[in-house]
Symmetry: D2
Subunit: 340 residues, 4 copies
Amino acid sequence: MAVRLAAFPIEHAGDASGLAQALAGWPDLGSLRELVIFAKVPGPATLNDPSRELMQTVFADALKTAAAPPIRMILSVGCEGIGASGGWLLAEDGVAGEGAARLMLVSTETDIIPEAGRGEPAHVLAVACAVRDAMAQSGLAASDIQLVMVKSPVRRNQANATGRSRGAAALGVAVALGEVAENAITPEAMDDPSLFGTRAMTMSGTETGRAEIVILANRAGAGGNLVIRSAIMRDIIDIGGARRLLESADARFDADGVLANPDDLGLVLLKAGIAPDGRLRGRPTHIHGTDIPADKHLRAAASGVLAGLLGSNDAFITGGAEHQAAPGQCLIAAIARETT
Amino acid sequence: MAVRLAAFPIEHAGDASGLAQALAGWPDLGSLRELVIFAKVPGPATLNDPSRELMQTVFADALKTAAAPPIRMILSVGCEGIGASGGWLLAEDGVAGEGAARLMLVSTETDIIPEAGRGEPAHVLAVACAVRDAMAQSGLAASDIQLVMVKSPVRRNQANATGRSRGAAALGVAVALGEVAENAITPEAMDDPSLFGTRAMTMSGTETGRAEIVILANRAGAGGNLVIRSAIMRDIIDIGGARRLLESADARFDADGVLANPDDLGLVLLKAGIAPDGRLRGRPTHIHGTDIPADKHLRAAASGVLAGLLGSNDAFITGGAEHQAAPGQCLIAAIARETT
Amino acid sequence: MAVRLAAFPIEHAGDASGLAQALAGWPDLGSLRELVIFAKVPGPATLNDPSRELMQTVFADALKTAAAPPIRMILSVGCEGIGASGGWLLAEDGVAGEGAARLMLVSTETDIIPEAGRGEPAHVLAVACAVRDAMAQSGLAASDIQLVMVKSPVRRNQANATGRSRGAAALGVAVALGEVAENAITPEAMDDPSLFGTRAMTMSGTETGRAEIVILANRAGAGGNLVIRSAIMRDIIDIGGARRLLESADARFDADGVLANPDDLGLVLLKAGIAPDGRLRGRPTHIHGTDIPADKHLRAAASGVLAGLLGSNDAFITGGAEHQAAPGQCLIAAIARETT
Amino acid sequence: MAVRLAAFPIEHAGDASGLAQALAGWPDLGSLRELVIFAKVPGPATLNDPSRELMQTVFADALKTAAAPPIRMILSVGCEGIGASGGWLLAEDGVAGEGAARLMLVSTETDIIPEAGRGEPAHVLAVACAVRDAMAQSGLAASDIQLVMVKSPVRRNQANATGRSRGAAALGVAVALGEVAENAITPEAMDDPSLFGTRAMTMSGTETGRAEIVILANRAGAGGNLVIRSAIMRDIIDIGGARRLLESADARFDADGVLANPDDLGLVLLKAGIAPDGRLRGRPTHIHGTDIPADKHLRAAASGVLAGLLGSNDAFITGGAEHQAAPGQCLIAAIARETT
């Protein structure tokens, strides 16, 4: 059941050529399972931006042409700052593995969450339930799980609809992983920043009525050479925290503090947040209250922080960390190739 | 003639309270000379944004109230990403100094540059001439000069007017410093990216008809404890280059690669650029061709790069590096307190 | 007590030259009362746009220079579409009038409305109380009043803060004028679109903690030759409704349906709204859900509707008609010179 | 050869349901020719907006499903203000007609225009040549032609690339129709606003390397009951000019000046322009120099002007009238059902 990973380039929202080439590189494609695409899609990332819809359409065509098995896509629009667009294709082969804990993938989804329940406790519980069921079916313990990626449905015409959607999904994962008590999930909890998990990275998706979920865990016997690690950065510029996470995935840093073995790193994911008052270590930012939405400021700034550290602008960066960390903190994760 | 430096906070474009307090901290204000304010002003940074005009108005009021000597202001709007707003007040006292090379300030300006000549060779030569004259009058050699800050006038209704304004001013400084030959300054030169200097940081200013210039140099006997250093970063994520520049100003870095002695650093300035094709070490960015102007992407990304390195979002970051470095490169400078 | 009106041009947010000239045209300025400026200010109209603050600053300077009496300013940023920027100066002389009902002005303000109460019933009641008091003091009946202009304070960090501020002020006027029952003002009422008045035009103002109010009424004996009329348009393209309102103010229209006697019209004011679903007579608009805020779409579209009818782009157009009319409807008002 | 016209709704850039229904309404679809879709597509209309690409993809699917003959699509993104999204499907049947002059369609295209030639005289001449050839082949005289719609390729990284593309195409049509002399087409002509035609409506299209052209003419014997008329409005608020054009297509207006027989009007097209200085009948607009591009201001304002006149927001409105009319003027056209 070893997981494999292929990165592929995306030049624009209609470009599936990189994916097609990645698929062609896996001749045993038909026998793979738990296929997942994570992708950063370029586009305006405005409310009426159809970039994700177009990307999904051209990806679906490429997958059909390659006769690929069913796949789950978690697409995020917005490559502000110096963020690169690009995609990552992950899949498991059916071969039994052995040895040390290695990356495994479990994907699942909720039923359709009724509009009125989105961003509300019902949304939280639907996600919690789906994650728990998937854990039970695949025999995963909460301690095995490093990261849960969720694409979460949005309620139309709701104030802060995307933030509430992300927050509800994050709380759902936190409940399933035992980080937040289920009975804490009241209507008031949705606005309570003191409730949060530390292993969910959630994106709102207007194109889905279900929460779509990908669990990334390490388990002995999974096989392959990939591992996943995640950690909390105390704020968006916590280079020390980011560095220790990467080092836990066998990254090494040169004398300038820049990643020395980039080829061993398969994928870095960062969920960028900022304190509600927009201040960073005592100084003002202007993330809140400008004509550019906060998540664009965050993705742009995070692209710089991370690219400085990695020596590359290639990462999966999203903004809006509601209930995914304490206010002002960020979640970082890395999939790396274990060489030992 | 020692230079002193006071940083002050700015919360919004109408906030001169920080400046007022900084001025109050200098009881000998009336005897100072070469006063300069550098400030990052929060605001939308759109074409019709009056933030700089408002900032200038409230600063002028504060200066008048404090009975300050004439002052030159170089205000730059735009604190995208995690960039902090804030200002820096510099001035020379009249006291003769001695000893090692220390920071000195020389400010000057051109005559009004006629609209038709802006962004053209006439603009270059006006700046070159003003810089040369100031060097001659103050006895500065080109090799003394680390940084020349220019606020440069803009031609209305010109394609890429702000870029051409910045580029012309940068070429003018480069000519004065002997980095570019004066006879290379033809109309075609304005669009020739192979012509550039390495010590000018230029900002376009619709509010001025003159190029306003502040020369920052180190000279033996200047007195005080400030020095300035500048260098070129090979690209916006060249942490190594930035680090070596800061180390040349006695900065030290901790095991994570983060600045360990921030109190010794008075002001870091960064001019952010990107390659014309928008690629960074082989990977695409989406800086060009989105609804967010390129300079906002650059400032936002640079705010992350620099804050990761400095452990603080406090810096003077501007975007648009035309003729101020080779295409894709960036200029960084630091004013530091010499403690030895 | 005749009211006089002078229109003046504004070219940019720092331009008070038109106001200065208008003030100079009133040699008896010192004896005037109830001075009011209404102005459409050009500017980005983003959250962090200081255009209004700058305009206020330069207006204050011009008024001080002219030794003008205290004045109330209702400034609105945003001249999207083909809307012109410009201002209108109104004032009463102290001369007793006689004869038919003519325009009179009463301005007032609330106490500072605490942040927590803004956009809430307390806000409504504060406005209602201030309007009622002003009516009582000036002997105005509700039926005399054609229009109440309100600049209304905003609660920071509230979802839809500007909309709630406008809505609360409008409900306050409606209560004072007997259009909405005071006991209907519950917390739920703030979100109830079935509650609305028809004579309030409200603008949110982040620069004020009080609601600032200008009542425009017609009263016999007021003197002068100005009258004000207001009416509801059934939607933003209800040319018939707009035309009948203007005709009630003695406007005449040519064979093309364009205003034939523009010189008799002093000022047209329009508050533009759209149905919550964004549909107009059955067809979709894209006012909601784009990167351009709804009020900018509305002001831009209204600038076209009105300019087509008036043959001029000169009007005071604002967007956001919460509780100022039934959903989807608009409020129009005109100050005209009675020539009979 | 009678032309038929079917309007269909578009709710979002991925919505081809309206087109599918329109196609289903034409059971003889396979025998039709000269099929054309004009559509206003909702979307952010930013440089990196893929709305048009997505619309084209879903339209292509719908056409394939319906086994439709080859079709030409002229899609324009941007429904600012109160503009409705929507599409119009036109086609000719093969039946010979007789009687009075009626609408006929001729579509054609140029070869691929090399990048370097776009927005240059080569672009003009390519369009002129294609239009002339199509006229010759179909026996159309210049005087038969009321409107030529062109989707015109864009040169990357050119200042004002979209404006130059539109302008070059418009000059090409003007040359073909004898409105501009061919020998006037020098490089300088591209920037000469005194050169213009009056019957081309041109849209830039980054998705095409060819200019794609649809000629709309009236010819005796064409059959059917549709006619097309076009005219120049002296400016964007020239209600009289617009009204006379519509009356020439048998429109009638009620006492308020609003269209009384909307069902007889099949499609109204408007190309909105503004004077280079942004002034309208002496008063400033702020169309130039804001954060919202000029063409969005223009489309939004025109949506209001036209909807006021038509009593409906349903029209094909585009902005950017370079060389398509004298500076500041606009082109309006209508396809109407002749009922006599």
